[in-house]
């Protein structure tokens, strides 16, 4: 009887402790869903076992990174940059797991912090793997493959609570927030490893899609995997210096399935954002979940921080494929020479040096109303991350009262307007729209008289080089990078806008 009573009491205490609800209980109803069944299931595993196993190991890299960043924020940098990196590259990648990993068993605390974000990653990784499967299935012809991929995308989007947006998100969402670049600044080598992962994850589609037969696909996949290993030979110099964009690394795949490519770019971009949130000391520990959830919401919606597909393609190419590790097929024996500093950020379509956006973003492009009509709806927002998804509507979401209050203070408005008008992209856009020009003139009229001439002069200054894509042009001029852009297919880009 005594034992029984003891057990009951222990169980009751345990249950209570387990179920007790603190004041701000975090209730999540996210759930797992099986992958789409089909004859193609696990074909990639069967036909490309080495590459398939590598992806299992990649799951570990992401998971342990988040867990360490969240649970050991003050740990020595070497714990990740040296110890964990060495374990992954010398042991795990060389002897990868047989089956996809249960990441919740690795990122225990992170999974509890943001189960919704974890599930989004899982769902997108499933899409990744299922598309590999379709293209690894030699029994399907091209039309079948296209049909299957369309089906996979439809299935993926059946979970709007988990699906990344099919609209390309601009780099401001990833690099223009107050926490942006924290991870890459502190852990450049591990960050390079993650980008190398992402290079292979999107790059591997290219030989699958461009190979004319099974033998070519096999050769191409082997070559891409070998190129991945080559990137790790002298870290971090051989690794991508900026986030690999699918359209640049795997152009044939992206042309065939632009929606999938966009989803994967959004996926990889959010990977970086969460790394930054977890790594940034500017994000208080009790704020991490809120910022992750904000990012999660922005990456799912179809309105905020979006750009057109054409702009996404332009931006992907303008960033320079050589900075991303190069294309995944038809590459030379040597790794491509990057043209930017490691971890450079992409500001208004140009690439700037690490840390450039460490300060709160002042030139963050909030969302256009629709991807197709960005010109009239863009506005500048001091804390873009705080903007709800519906701020896509012109000026919606802005605190107009606060704006008027601030307008009364020339001290606040002056520097902001000056900076805005120094940006040729903004200037051109304002000048192109009579309504915006009228509003700008009205604001200048409210400025102190001694500043008005200078501002009017700035506004009247014409942009020397026409800006084709306003959302992707440089905001600031900085010294040019030291490295020559030899053999860079994008040698025509404005390297003078890259900050050191």
């Amino acid at each position: 009887m005594t034992v029984r009573r003891l057990i009951f009491r222990a169980a009751a205490v345990g249950m209570f402790a387990a179920v007790a609800t603190p004041a701000q209980a975090q209730w999540s109803t996210t759930y797992e869903q099986f992958y789409l069944p089909g004859s193609f299931n696990w074909e990639f595993r069967r036909n490309y076992p080495a590459a398939d196993k590598l992806f299992n190991a990649f799951d570990y890299g992401h998971a342990i990174l988040y867990e360490r960043l969240y649970t050991q924020p003050n740990a020595p940098v070497a714990d990740l940059e040296q110890k964990e990196y060495d374990f992954i590259t010398r042991k795990l990648l060389r002897n990868p797991p047989r089956v996809p990993l249960e990441e919740a068993a690795i990122e225990v605390q992170y999974a509890k912090l943001a189960p919704e974000a974890k599930m989004m990653f899982d769902w997108a990784h499933l899409l990744h793997r299922q598309i590999y499967d379709v293209w690894a299935d030699e029994s399907l012809d091209l039309a079948d493959k296209d049909r299957k991929v369309a089906e996979l995308l439809a299935y993926y989007k059946k979970r709007p609570d988990l699906a990344f947006s099919s609209f390309p998100k601009n780099m401001e969402l990833m690099e223009g927030q107050y926490y942006s670049t924290a991870f890459r600044d502190k852990y450049p080598k591990f960050n390079g490893l993650i980008w190398a992962y992402h290079w292979l994850q999107v790059g591997l589609y290219e030989p699958l899609v461009t190979g004319k037969n099974a033998a070519e696909r096999q050769t191409g996949v082997v070559a891409a995997v070998a190129r991945f290993w080559q990137m790790l030979e002298a870290p971090p110099s051989g690794m991508p210096t900026i986030m690999p964009m699918t359209a640049a690394v795997a152009p044939a795949f992206s042309a065939r399935y632009p929606e999938a490519a966009i989803i994967f770019d959004n996926l990889h971009s959010m990977h970086d954002v969460i790394s930054d949130i977890l790594a940034s000391p500017k994000v208080a520990r009790n704020q991490k979940r809120a910022d992750i959830m904000k990012a999660v919401s922005l990456y799912r919606d179809r309105t905020s921080f979006v750009m057109t597909q054409a702009e996404w393609l332009d931006m992907s190419n303008a960033m320079g494929v050589n900075n991303m590790g190069g294309t995944a097929t038809n590459f030379l024996a040597a790794l491509p020479t990057p043209t930017t500093e490691r971890g450079a950020v992409h500001v208004h379509g140009a690439t700037a040096a690490p840390g450039a956006s460490a300060a709160p973003a002042e030139h963050v492009h909030a969302a256009p109303a629709t991807p197709a009509a960005p010109a009239e709806s863009e506005h500048v927002h001091g804390d873009a991350a705080a903007a709800p998804a519906d701020t896509a509507k012109p000026m919606a979401g802005m605190n107009h009262d606060a704006m008027h209050a601030k307008a009364a203070s020339a001290d606040v408005m002056m520097p902001m307007l000056m900076r805005m008008l120094k940006d040729p992209a903004i200037r051109q856009r304002v000048n192109a729209s009579p309504e915006m020009r009228r509003m700008m003139n009205a604001m200048i009229d409210e400025m102190p008289a001694d500043h008005r001439p200078e501002m009017r002069k700035l506004l009247a200054t014409r942009v020397v080089a026409p800006v084709k894509k306003p959302a992707s042009k440089p905001a600031q001029k900085k010294p040019a990078p030291k490295k020559p852009a030899a053999k860079d297919p994008h040698a025509g880009m404005d390297h003078s806008t890259m900050k050191k």
Binding site: A11, S28, Y31, Q33, W42
Partner: protein, 279 residues
Amino acid sequence: MGPNTLRVRLRRLLIPALIVSTALASDTANAQTDYYNTDAGRPLQIEDAYATERYAFELKLTSFKLERASRGRYNLGMEPEIAYGLLPRTHVEIGLPIAHQDLGDGASRSGVAGLEVSAMHNLNAETRSLPALGIRGDLLFPVGGLGPDRTYASVKGMATRTLSVARFHLNGQYTFGDEPGTDAVAEGARWLGGIAVDKALPLKAILFAADFYARQPLHESEDVDYSTNVGFRYQTSPSFLLDAGIGRRLTGPERGWSLTFGTAYAFAIRSLIPVRASR
């Protein structure tokens, strides 16, 4: 029943089961199961608070339990089951327990020991402030020669809490209905409560686990008994799972040990998933 007879009977049951297991374990499997999502009896009694993935079928054809009861008697149980993730965080399950019972003095009996139908719902995913919680309802119907003499309904609550060192599960179950007749062998319990702990080795896709629980048999005159199990779950391929365990009943008249072995195979049926390509 002599040892030779038992061996022959075991062989008759185990060999076909192993053939089925081996066939399912081949690399042609096209589905995924999860060693981390535990089920009652596979191999522990205490389970986690998560349901089978939506749209997934989990087929457990080969779930064996061999018990060595008092005075060297052996009982063998097998429970083929299939679970289906019918709704978000919800699965339904149907099982057909089959038992072979050694009555001593060379006598034995075999047969179906009821039909189990259950539904499980996971209330929430685990977060920093809350464990994962789940509820489950079971119905055991009077089917088969060794089944109960009436239908029994049970409710169960489950909680799962994960710490960096290990994961913990609490279960509490209550069964409604009168005491069964004396011949029934279905292992119902008026109530059952217990705790389990498990530790995953994620890179090896293996989970080691142990539990301890107390149960009051449906026969109110019997004392509460206490049992413990240890075991593992091992993912052999993305779609195939093996589990095995050893248990010990610590108190009660049938004090003894038990061995469990099981396999699970997961799959989905395309026609049950309502999705069409958007272009």
